[in-house]
Symmetry: C2
């Protein structure tokens, strides 16, 4: 059955090629503290997390918007497992395009 | 003469202690491409540059605003030499507070 070809990864929204992402877009995504919070959680988890797992101080629809912006900026990959929308940091790809940027931002966020 | 105590460094505008600067303020400063251009020029020059030395695609008053934002975010130190307002990156201080952040941003800006 062609429709189940990707197993639980149906309804995958579009993801940009990391090479098409510029620093401007990345910084516009990361200037928002809620989006940095999401990236920080995914960085710490080192695995994909469902949207509901990450506690955010915003409404569900606002959170969905933030995840969308991060996906558009090449920072996260989203896919479904059943009804759960999963989010994974595109860490290796991102580190290759923007060496040292994520670790520096995470370190800055972690300091007291 | 007390008034010449600082030689050419009179009329120094206030500079924040780097420890009072948060990542949010830094990113808000650096999300602007003209301000990143200024920081990039100062980083490359490795010395203080007068405002007029740095070619910017904005009016003089807008440029003055951008320098002001960078100073408020702890990124640059400004002082006068005669009538020239000089700008120096607070690189060592900044690197201590935000390790790796400036080099990562400069590297990202430099790539094709």
């Amino acid at each position: 059955m062609a429709s189940t070809q990707h197993g639980g990864r149906e309804r995958v929204p579009p993801h940009p090629d990391i090479d098409t992402i510029g620093l401007q877009q990345v910084l516009e995504a990361l200037v928002d503290p809620v989006r940095r919070l999401i990236v920080g959680e995914l960085y710490a988890a080192s695995e994909a997390l469902s949207c509901g797992t990450i506690e955010l101080p915003v409404s569900k629809s606002t959170a969905t918007h933030h995840f969308h912006v991060l996906r558009e900026a090449g920072l996260i990959r989203q896919y479904y497992v059943g009804t759960s929308r999963m989010n994974a940091l595109r860490r290796e790809e991102f580190d290759e395009s923007f060496p040292g940027l994520l670790p520096a931002l995470i370190a800055a966020a972690d300091r007291a």
